[in-house]
């Protein structure tokens, strides 16, 4: 059941990949997707391209989406493999996220991975400091946005090249 649905969702994702995203899919291990995500242009997680080089300088984030065996009855698990300074992503080696429809009690089986990916993109543009996994970063974001922006950009330069 879950295999069939994951394949189907992958098909849909390929046909209509959200902009700024690439999905690396390993047919031998379909329950773990690697997603390459560009920090959206409107966000602090993008480093604009330099004129002479037509490649983005930074803001490349690697994510892992893993599907539990009970998928779609249980939500997929998202983790940032690239370090990111964000109120909703845990600042440890796991880079986990736990909000909105990613919570087991909020997840409903008709939700799809695409919705999860879109949620992540939205959160990069507009973090949700009121449901933060990292309150200190959330605090920075709310009280001291300049500082937040500076650190976030530094981290992009350092980790997300």
């Amino acid at each position: 059941m879950s295999t069939k649905r994951i394949m189907k969702e992958y098909g849909e994702c390929v046909a209509d990949t959200p902009e700024g995203m690439k999905i690396n899919f390993d047919e031998n291990k379909i329950t773990k997707w690697e997603v390459l995500l560009d920090g959206p242009d409107q966000s602090v997680y993008a480093l604009p391209e330099v004129l002479s080089v037509s490649v983005r300088q930074g803001g490349h984030f690697k994510l892992e989406i893993s599907f539990p065996p009970e998928y779609p009855f249980k939500p997929p698990v998202v983790s940032f493999k690239t370090k990111i300074y964000h109120p909703n992503v845990s600042n440890d080696d796991k880079g986990s996220m736990c909000l909105g429809l990613l919570r087991a009690e909020e997840w409903k089986p008709p939700n799809k991975v695409v919705a999860v990916l879109r949620l992540i993109q939205t959160l990069l543009i507009e973090p949700n400091p009121d449901d933060a996994i990292e309150p200190s970063i959330a605090n920075d974001y709310k009280e001291n946005y300049k500082e937040f922006e500076k650190t976030a950009k530094e981290w992009v330069k350092r980790y997300a090249k």
Partner: protein
Amino acid sequence: MATAGGAAYVTRGERNIKSIYPELTLDLRNPAAPAASIELLTAPARPLPVVFEPEEAVQRLSYLPPLLLDIVLAEGYPTKRPPILIISTTPQWLPDAVLRKLEKEGETLWEEYGGMQMLFAYISYLQEASESVFGIANQVTDGIVRLPMSMKDALVHVDKKLNKDIFEKGTFDCGICLEPKKGAVCHRMQRCNHVFCVPCLQDFYSNCVKEGDVNSVKCLSPDCGKSGDANVDRRTQERLISPKELLQIPLPLETVQRFVNIKRKKKMEADPSMVFCPRMWCQGAIRSERYPKVTDVSRLDESDDEYDEPSKQEQVEKKDADPDSNAKPPGTPHTDRLVICEDCNLAFCKVCLKAWHGDFIRCKDRERRELTEEEEASLRYILMNTSSCPTCNVPCQKAYGCNHMKCFQCKSHFCYLCGAWLDPGNPYKHFNDPKKKTCYQRLMDGAEGDMMNGEIQFAGRRAAEQQADFWEREVFRMQMEEFDTPTS
């Protein structure tokens, strides 16, 4: 000769109509006056509210018994005479006046068409008029149509049958397996009309019941409870699916039985006034009006959501309660102590938990019962391997995920490591506060689940448990060492 030619002409016209309405039946036995009949589906644009008198309950019907239109094309149609039209319904739920008016409409139309063929136009007129149920709801002030009780069965049957037939012929995209499925293998939720395929629903609900997570037996649609309208949301999101509907999906009877039993058991266990049978092999609940024993699950149409609010019965009881009852001294009067186990029928005293001793014996609260070895072992296992909710004390074991827990029973947020209550508004603060040494930065510790996982260092109650266990082993080890060391 002229007549025959006329009939042939008419027949051709009818045949044309038949190609438009394949369900039309032709009767050409009388060539001079060919006849035809057609059943027209009556599907109101919006379900028609109907009251079957003397009942008062309003039923909303999506389909009504079809209109039967009999047409006879007498000699002279269409140039000289209008067709003979007879409209009827079985049972006759449309008033005579309405039927005659509809028939008359045919004549008017024939005149408007100036003696041309008008049957197609007439049938489409009837179909269109059927969407507003021929205006019968507009003739009554409250928009509710009143019909005699004798028609109820027939009308409800037609509504159900057509609903089912049309649903089964349709195709639906199941939101769970994402496959298009025929309506015949789908189920439409009674309360919110969301559609899912039967195998997916069976999978999900059976698993919920198996795991004892009965509170998740709700509609799976993400839209349910998200309308923003508190009233609508309560109706859809909060309510569990009724046992009757579960059987219709269908779920196996044993599963539904278990679902009902678990729901009942949870309610009883949450009630501190509830007493259970003292016989070790029984432990049944006592007979009580508040939690009637369920015998036939298929009759349970109520999906109760009393987890969050007192049941109606309770509310009534509170209202009825004697205002002086609070003044009575605490404790159970001797005459109220007799209870009977619903399973083994043992009559016992609910205070001393001994077999019934009569009204006039003084008895005390029973002493804490000595635990058997087996009970002690399971209690110990529970203490070692679960963290309990700080609010309702239900033991929880984490299957996977972070240490921010939400109690499946009372919805409290708590920390899996130390058992502390967490503020639902900001549950993660607990894991990010350097002062909380035991839990600081440990949100994701043991994310793989802690079944038999001795690696995780707990705090609070479980830490004490871990230490006790450690020292017990240590003492045992030291004793063994002493034992092994030969004494001089």
